[in-house]
Symmetry: C2
Subunit: 379 residues, 2 copies
């Protein structure tokens, strides 16, 4: 990992947020999601995901200075992760987090005006609490603007995303090469997980299904053995450098593929490639969606995807989502996947593949080489 | 796994919810959290946790009949998991989920009255959407009542929790027995994960730290090697049977423990035991907190925990939380952990242990045997 640039500059990220505040006429922002707090404070507080009742807040004031308001259980660890000096804390089950937030804001003179918050992340009760303790404040949802701000990655973020993507692909290919027909789905996934951890990757999610089970969108491995001739698919993500996600999908076969199976995966490859070819700065995100959709038709494959890919970073689905209504212009530095899925209910098979690409001034650069053929187990 | 009773009766769980609706004067409930949807519908939709923008709803009508409103991506899989026949779907990025929910409610005549929802789970924007499309409906937060309803486990839930707890402990003890001084934290965690998967357990979270790093509340493994004499601690959870959590903590030492280290873990054991001894139907949850707190003082150990344990099931922290203000009476069938942690900043050490117990008519029954001594690596 020594060659990966991990020097993310939170000061620069907070400066972007200050500019956003200015353009939206905000007196402060109070952010509460795992993604936003990690992004602007450099923390990795896993309970923000696993314990939705435990709230943590990142605050940015109008003068550009940041603060954190943390559950006291998390403070000690967070101090080792963040460069932010001003850290307030509340005691869980004793204090109301919103009241502690109001106090922190009042200490800096913010008792009225407009405060930006994450309307799609903060739960209704906490929002009602904030309204109660900040009666003269207008709470303004800034979710879309925040996502936009985080969609263009810095060089170090791209470096970490590349390492994460490469390590995840290596784990899948390595485990598949050592697997045999008759191994259970769970044993293959255990081998992949072990290889991920060897590269510093922490398990995040792992969809794995073989045969008919693979059709379910987000099924997990079972003790079902891999049968000869079965298509299997995996869609997995791990976290590297604490907060940076990978997200990769591959499809394979146990034993020799049939010519029909080879044909489908060739079509899948062409479909995915068409998506990348639509990536260029300035083109709208939906162009990738329609390029993929059109290629499904050319390949005579059934299409029913609401989106064909998305941004990736600290969040698993980041902006821009590659969906038909998204007119966001692509920009150099965005990191996007294209993940076509072909479901053939009559065959009882599901094909899925997914690789990341970074948008460059010239077009795109792939972070992992897309698959052109089925990955074979026990050929 | 053949001997584990996994036959959870969702009909019975929905009947409990119907009774709750009646007592609260609700015309319907619309639930949106991973925990509630899994509990009442029997689904396991992982994106409810990983993709907070993708909403899924479980609806129960006044006549006791259930329905699901799902993102179309998840419908196929969910149908293989749930016994609910009435499934509506919405298309992501095209439909507004709240509008689809209003339509589903209107089809059954619910356009006014009182609807229960999860105020601490549904995000503010979705709540605002529901208010807009259901202007004549009063939305009533029922979070506490829902948690209460889920806190007493059925025999099959207890059976699954027991299997999950035993398998998790076995994975930790097995990996520790095969580890050596000098192994990295990550390699130990990879071995534990592999053993968990062998028992059907899917990684959920794994706090692991050795030496001074162990003090951080929720640190993860790194490639740091295990040094002789270092205290290490693990706090981990996996999901079994798709949705049932384990949650276990253990503390160990690399090589021979010092007499001081042995003394601290003995105190930790006495503290944990004092918590279990306060478990009895009818006693308030806070009694366990105070029993633990008092034993810290008797053992002359520093105490700073906002809570000393919690319920466990589909949620990682379920009711009742063992915190000082919680007067909820304990009841037979509740499954609770007691997880004292001793932080010694001067020694740069953190001790933590955690086991589940089920409250019985007579008192409690442990699901795993608590540790009385440090787990040794390479003794």
């Amino acid at each position: 990992m020594a060659t990966v640039n991990t020097s993310t500059d939170r000061t620069e990220q907070r400066a972007r947020l200050s500019s956003l505040m200015e353009s939206l006429g905000l007196d402060a922002v109070v952010l509460s999601s795992y993604q936003a707090v990690s992004y602007f404070a450099g923390t990795h507080i896993m309970t923000q995901v696993s314990l939705p009742d435990r709230l943590e807040f990142f605050v940015l004031f109008g003068d550009g200075s940041p603060a954190l308001l943390l559950c006291s259980i998390e403070t000690g660890m967070a101090k080792t992760q963040t460069d932010i000096d001003e850290i307030a804390e509340y005691t869980e089950f004793v204090d109301v987090p919103a009241e502690a937030a109001a106090k922190l804001l009042a200490q800096r003179g913010v008792t009225s005006g407009r405060i930006g918050f994450e309307a799609r992340r903060l739960h209704s009760e906490a929002q009602a609490d904030l309204r109660r303790v900040l009666p003269d404040v207008e709470l303004v949802g800034i979710d879309d603007a925040l996502e936009q701000l985080q969609s263009v990655k810095t060089p170090s973020e791209i470096d970490m995303l590349r390492f994460a993507a490469e390590s995840t692909l290596a784990a899948v290919l390595g485990a598949a090469a050592s697997a045999k027909p008759g191994d259970t789905e769970l044993s293959v996934c255990a081998e992949i997980t072990s290889r991920l951890m060897g590269a510093g990757g922490i398990y995040n999610f792992m969809v794995f299904g073989s045969g008919g089970r693979a059709i379910g969108a987000h099924v997990e491995a079972t003790d079902q053995p891999l049968r000869e001739g079965a298509i299997w698919r995996i869609d997995l993500g791990a976290r590297f450098f604490e907060t940076i996600n990978s997200d990769l999908a591959r499809v394979g076969v146990v034993g020799e593929p049939s010519s029909r199976q080879e044909e489908v995966v060739s079509a899948l490859h062409a479909i995915q490639h068409a998506g990348y070819e639509a990536m260029e700065p300035g083109r709208p995100a939906c162009d990738v969606f329609f390029a993929v959709k059109n290629e499904y038709q050319r390949q005579r494959m059934p299409f029913s995807m609401p989106h064909v890919g998305h941004g990736l970073g600290i969040g698993l689905h980041e902006a821009p989502i590659l969906e038909p209504g998204n007119r966001t212009p692509l920009a150099a530095g965005m990191v996007l996947n294209v993940e076509p899925m072909v479901i053939l209910p009559d065959e009882g098979e599901c094909y899925h593949t997914e690789d990341l690409a970074v948008v460059t001034p010239e077009g795109y650069e792939l972070l992992t080489p897309p698959q052109e053929a089925l990955i074979r187990i026990g050929d």
